[in-house]
Amino acid sequence: MSSATGSGPSSGPDTVATRWSRRLGEGLLGRPRGGRFDLFPYLLMLPGLLLVMFVTLYPIVFAVNYSLMRTQVFKQLAFVGLANYARLFADPRFQTNLVNSLFFVLVGVALTWTFGLALALLLRRQRWGNAILKTIVLIPWVTNQVVLALMWKWLLNGEFSPINYLLGLVNLPGLNPLISTAQALPALTIVNAWRATGFSLLLMLAGLSAIPVEVEEAAEIDGASRWKQLWYVIIPLLKPVSLACIITLTISFFNIIVLPMDLTGGGPLNSTEVLSLRLYREGFQYYNMGSASAITLVLVGLDLILAWAYYKLIRAETYYR
């Protein structure tokens, strides 16, 4: 194709239009002309690339810079090296934040994935009311987190909860998880998993629709029980979709602020204060930009580790090679 064979867009008179058309075609194919490096495709990418670099690299450079400084609001007072990091890692509250975040993310993602898969398995063959059911599950995912937080705060309020009223009717003890240092974080994690189940459900349904019916039928003919079909056939075949779902949720859960802020405020006694909430407080309530930047970079580090793990797992995956 194109200029190498003398056919295609370049075969006519060598006008400006055809030259550009040829270059565009070559550029998009990424083929160097005459063995020379072609700048043109990169020029086309440049505006987007600059924008992406600005919104990703600039904040990182900003955060690295501020994390090494003693600050007064946005004013840099002195270079302090790694002192902000040292203080952070020695801070028991930060250690609590880290543990809370890991629990919130790992347990939350596991629950969300499980809920999503379970619902997808239920709904994939369901014909009646399928769209309505899917919409209902999706509503929390698309609803403002402030609204969800207020609703759950009311539902989980030990004094005014309608759930407790119903439990009381059948002589069961009421719930009051938000005032308990042991129960508040699991409650927050479950609420968040419930919120994100719609997202997981959509991905799982897409994944399930890509699994050929014959594969499941073959397993059934071979005498595999439903459970074995799920464990040995469906879940392995859903691996790429599951990984995409898990990594997206992981990053999303690590960075969540609004739900914990409005549902528990990080309490009681910091038992639900996750890293992102602490970051918000340091940055936008206390204006300790040095500490906030150090926490940001710790979060970025955690996200990068997870992205790397994701990449490795995708590469190790064998089913669609």
């Binding site: 309020n157 004094e159 009051n176 802020m261 528990t264 405020g265 910091n270 309530q285 204006y287």
Partner: protein
Amino acid sequence: MGTLTRREFLKRVGQGSMAVGGAGLLLPVSTWAQGSLAGQSIIHWSLLNPEGKSLREVALKEILGKFKEKTGITVTVQTLPWQELGTKLIASVQAGNPPDSSRVNIFTLKMILKADALTNLDLYLKKTFTDAQRKDFIVDFTPPVIVSGSKWSMQIEMTPKALFVRKDWLARAGMKAPKTWAELVEVGKAMTGGGKWGYMFNGSKTQLNQVETIFQPHIHGRGGQVLDASDKGVFNDEAAVKSYQFLSDCVHKHKITPPQVIAMTYDEVTDAFKSGRVGMIQEGSHRYSDIAKAIGAENLELAKMPSDDPKRPSPTIITGWGMGIPRGSKHPDAALEYIKYYIGAEAQEINARVAGSLPTRRSTLDRPFFQSKEAAYMRWWMDYAAERGEIIINVPTFTQLNEVMVDALQQVLNSPSANVKQVLDDAVKRYNQLLQA
């Protein structure tokens, strides 16, 4: 128009002078909206939405209409959560995109100034107000709002706090509003039961900056201090220990407060009172009208904050909003006009008449509304403020102070056997270390 006789001319000049002189008592020296300002549009940040339904929002809408009518300046209000106004203002100034004017809470003022986010108003005020007008404030906010010898915001509202009591519940129990903390416990016990509670306070960190206001009347009323003269934390003295112990006892010993308060915000406590779940809360004058509307004014009694001495109530903590011009405001002159109007007699009267907000300007009290029966309760607030008013603590680290105090409160509420003195010693140490960092 026909020609004037000399007598008529002098008479008209005399009337005009009198009008100008009279208005001068209430209005700033400069005239309303210069010609060049009419037609301008400013962006104003507020916690209130002029399209909202609360009485304060209804009042705001009326004020905006009157202001536009008078000056030709359009004010576009952008509404933000009250607890985020200060921090968002700092961020917007830093980003180079601030509003033209903004509400500024008295307790976040110093943090905002630390970030250099407000315009110095001294020059404007000197040009605009006479000395007498500058002193025309009911409560002297000078010490907390003068920073580095300059003024950065003008007080638009004065909000003292008091004990809001369900009068109908009191009558049912055959009791009177409490004057002492011991009486509050007794009244609380009589009110508690059947899903209703006697007393509530907020112990959540979600609306952080409203926690300190619980402690200030308690601790100062018992003769202690939250901060010393150099702004170091000293809230581990005997009065503070008694205060924390009292709040813990309300939950664990007297059982007049639900354990749920550990997770309740300031707004949620107010809502619980409005919905008839609790009989006594500490609340500000700014919410009086909305609460009276919800439960009926005849069911609402205002009481001075109790103390250990029935003859001397605890102080009423006065907080309130000011209005300032952010650094980098694109229309500072129009913004100043808005501030001038907002602290003028007309707007202050609208705020009082519609929303029950207390005025800040002494001269406003001459307006007819303040002589009416409906405004009688406002005089109660102002008398209390005059008797035992105390401006809320405002230090640049106010948010952290609140956090340390609420962490200590949650510790005490979470564990009935907690050593309160030890908890407060640790809290004070933590706060003072934070000041050094």
